[in-house]
Symmetry: C2
Subunit: 251 residues, 2 copies
């Protein structure tokens, strides 16, 4: 039987979640890199894997699947030996996790991904920064972080919903928040530091999934270092109407 | 045992999907109306039901749940006798449906909900129209509709993924598209008419779920009639910087 293939770019939050999940659960897989900065997701070959042209995607034998939450659920149900905490069999506990996963798309993910893209990453993809869009995104992000803290991190629980072990929702949401590492340090601290429970929760997920967590995020830290050693790429000014920045072949 | 309570506003796309699903599957429930135009979702009583202050939400005994896809999955798993087509037990078939449900949030829903809100509904909620946001939303909507048609409605299948019976993904996505009924007829036709397979698919879901489908959408048709008999509320001009329109107590 062919090994599970996982198509990823580790700069993509949901790609990282899938890789960490596979490593944590000793799922044997081959990681195939699809370099988003080189637009490899637009190749005809990859379109055969995922017609939506996004990472992550998987191929398991003849079965192809995309959307990271769908992939996580599929892996839990297909590969034996995944501990119940990741995606509980109990209907009510599972439903509460589904609610977080579904909520994520239009809230935390929308805010975080748009903020990072529009305030830092866009030039790497040949697009201008858009600080107006970034400002709107930060509002959604702030509101999302407050809701996670107030609703799902009540009390002193280590993980969402008062759980003692992480679920796929903890993994997906924390991998998303990690994208804020790409922001200027001051911006990241302004957003996250008022939320002590969020900071502790990120740390708890790291500890529970290390060494895989830090290994999979290493690329992110490298790009962060490169971004912030080159002040011109993070000028802090809107260059919405300015010239397009060329795709960096180094990213 | 207490009857299932379903908190809805039939002007909300996912609320309608839940009601139609319950009626189709003879799930005994009490519908509790939360009037969004009167901001009833912001009441302290409703916040106890759903801290996110959104409809739909359910209370089943002591269990509370929000997010419509999570609710649909929960209902399938909790109420006996729901036919397998709605949410197949087969892992691969289920995973393909999960991918559609997850994709929906940042694509079809984001485009459709934002277009309708910013071009028609905003004044009903005391906010100005925003035709710039509506234009951006229409791009996302157009792209989403093309992808549904090209990827999931291949061939002559009646429902998504080549299925002969509808799934919860068909129901969720078609209830979303129905929101376009609130647009000016010309706008709706401009968006949908180039997509014959989408039109046929909407019709197929209607036929498969009637009389419930039309009964649950009756409110939408009424609001449409009211909106378009009063040209001042759909002037077609941006009133972004204009005065706020008062909440209509009649909606």
């Amino acid at each position: 039987m062919m090994k599970l293939k996982v198509y990823t770019d580790r700069m993509s939050q949901p790609s990282r979640a899938i890789i960490i999940f596979c490593k944590m659960n000793r799922i044997d897989f081959e990681e195939v890199r699809i370099d988003l900065a080189k637009a490899q997701q637009r190749s005809p070959e990859f379109q055969e894997i995922n017609p939506m042209r996004q990472v992550p995607a998987i191929v398991d034998g003849r079965f192809k699947l995309f959307e990271s939450h769908a992939i996580l659920r599929y892996l839990v149900c297909t590969f034996p030996g995944v501990p119940d905490n990741w995606y509980p069999a109990d209907v009510s506990n599972r439903a509460r996790i589904e609610a977080i996963l579904d909520w994520h798309h239009s809230n935390l993910r929308r805010g975080s991904a748009s903020l990072v893209f529009n305030s830092v990453l866009a030039p790497k993809f040949g697009l201008p920064l858009n600080l107006e869009a970034a400002k709107e995104a930060e509002k959604i992000l702030d509101s999302s972080i407050s809701k996670i803290e107030g609703i799902w991190l009540k009390g002193n629980s280590k993980f969402l919903l008062g759980n003692f072990q992480p679920s796929i929702a903890d993994l997906s949401l924390v991998c998303e928040i990690m994208q804020l590492e790409l922001l200027d340090k001051k911006d990241r601290e302004r957003i996250l530091n008022p939320h002590k429970k969020i900071l502790q929760w990120i740390e708890n997920v790291k500890v529970a999934t290390n060494p895989h967590f830090e290994e999979v995020h290493a690329v992110l830290y490298k790009v962060r270092a490169k971004l912030h050693s080159n002040p011109s790429s993070i000028s802090g000014e809107s260059i919405k109407s300015g010239p397009k920045v060329k795709l960096s072949p180094k990213l």
